[in-house]
Assembly symmetry: C2
Homo-oligomer: 331 residues x 2
Amino acid sequence: MPTIKDVAKLAEVSTATVSRVLNGNGYVHSETKERVAEAIKQLNYRPNDVARILFKGRSKMIALFVPDIMNPYFPELARAVEDMTNQHGFTFVLCNTDDDLNKEITYLEALKQKSLDGIIVVSSTMTEEYIQNIDVPVIALDRILHRSMASVTVNNREGSRQAVQYLKDLGCQRIAHISGPEQASNATQRLEGYLDVVKEESWFKESYIEPGEYHFEEAKKATERLLTRHPEIDGLFVANDLMGVGAIKAAESLGIKIPDQLSVIAFDGITLGETTTPTLTTMAQPIYKIGARAAELLIQQIEDRHHEIHSEEFTVELIERDSTRRKEDHP
Amino acid sequence: MPTIKDVAKLAEVSTATVSRVLNGNGYVHSETKERVAEAIKQLNYRPNDVARILFKGRSKMIALFVPDIMNPYFPELARAVEDMTNQHGFTFVLCNTDDDLNKEITYLEALKQKSLDGIIVVSSTMTEEYIQNIDVPVIALDRILHRSMASVTVNNREGSRQAVQYLKDLGCQRIAHISGPEQASNATQRLEGYLDVVKEESWFKESYIEPGEYHFEEAKKATERLLTRHPEIDGLFVANDLMGVGAIKAAESLGIKIPDQLSVIAFDGITLGETTTPTLTTMAQPIYKIGARAAELLIQQIEDRHHEIHSEEFTVELIERDSTRRKEDHP
DNA sequence: TAAATATGTGTAACCCGTTACATATTCATG
DNA sequence: CATGAATATGTAACGGGTTACACATATTTA
């Protein structure tokens, strides 16, 4: 690999001049510039990023922390972050944290040693104390970590209200909820949205809420329990699509017909919901957009440390598919 | 951030001694070692990886190139590579190439400037010429790129034969195939496996093969075309699970009952196949294992450049689910 | 007991860029 | 024409580690 010295020698200038040509700063005579450019081309020289990083203390590297990339919500998010990251000349590092604070800390320490520029975090586990100690720009994504930290999220509570209201409008009389983990801010917001609509109903019972932990299998079991205990349930709001698919599977195994006997609506809008039978009605997040926006905000903050960053909230949108009865199907 | 100089000053030794303690090489008196360790702890010192990388010319960074992380086969693979990568103290970089040679090249150049140690590649597009020019350890995964390059794959041809034979054993009389892109080595191998079993059959026609490009939507359309043109088909071998789900959807939309009228078997063994109705019978790859093994081999090669690397082939295994008729259901 | 070897530690060069500073030349302006 | 500003380029320090080499002392070995 040729170095800047080789280029300097060939072009008969100092390394400083080569550096100036490379970075386009300082004064360089146009003829000199051409000689240097020629030498660079001839040697097929590429500057060593590591040396640059060492000097500048910036790596042009961004990490995305997700609980687990195998949850199909995250690949789309990761894709968005990666695309935006590349557009700005940054390198993208993906970290699966398994919702484990120790893993998060280990990753962060390792990356700091590599002069990481910033991170985007989807986490339910980071403690406030630890958050304060991170001296790297951070943006929370999908879930709020702490009011002191900028975040990009969706209107979980309002979206959930709309989802439940949609079930009511379809004529559902007893609407239950499969909830996410209570440590996740978006899960509690979705639960609150559900409660906003149903808590004053005469039929509402606490036992209409069953925890599904945002996991497929867990949600399947939860739904089986729920529907066995409460056969009167005719509407189900599930806190995310992955669990929604689990709920469909559970109903199927119990011989309950969707949407005829039970309408199911979930939350997220991942592609998985299109592949089930029946397809899954959902409150869709603009997943790619929020991922891309989070990356954009982070990069803004990295490039201008004084840039005020505010949190942003996107809006979810109802996608009607086959797991909910259509109004017109209903007398 | 404290540097090695700060530690040296506090411990009243030279930076060389601190370095020796850090790396556990050279001679250091046990008392000195303790003083240094104490200073490190007191300052909460962590060595700057960038400086190390610059000197060593090794970044302890591994990249995984995949066509698109949104294809559900890849998250599991990525997860495996990342886990193994971490176990060996390497950093993991994920790159989506969109099966685009330019993107692959751009990524590779960018990463080389960061002293990337090695890459694991899932690609159908890399040209032989380009492969020869990569002066970084590479392992091909899932698809063979070139005989000169070590790879970790599965027995695609034999597995496909088994899949098609399985359909025959169930009593299928007319077995068609939805194929993957012909540039992908595993797609052609799977096609060959299919042909091995059916090409001598009197009923076999070339038009029983329909290209699905490893894409969900494409496969759905392909299956619709196929089943409309050839209503006699009662068995379908689909080159991967993602397309298998598309095939199920297509049959559903045509009112063809699976498995009663049509048995479908696919290839890969991704979780997606468990969520459909009916669930998808498949030849399952040990996805996590092959990903982990590829990472292991790559790391071996990185740490010992002269280490002979051989290709490895894993075995696929039939997972019987609901998209194929059970033998006992059949007279 | 002298020579050979092992142990312990520091100095300084090196990895490869960037940039503050010094110096030289050219140009514009009063 | 003198003077300050703009242009052009080089020297050397710097970022934060690692390690070859030199040197000193301690321990073996013959």
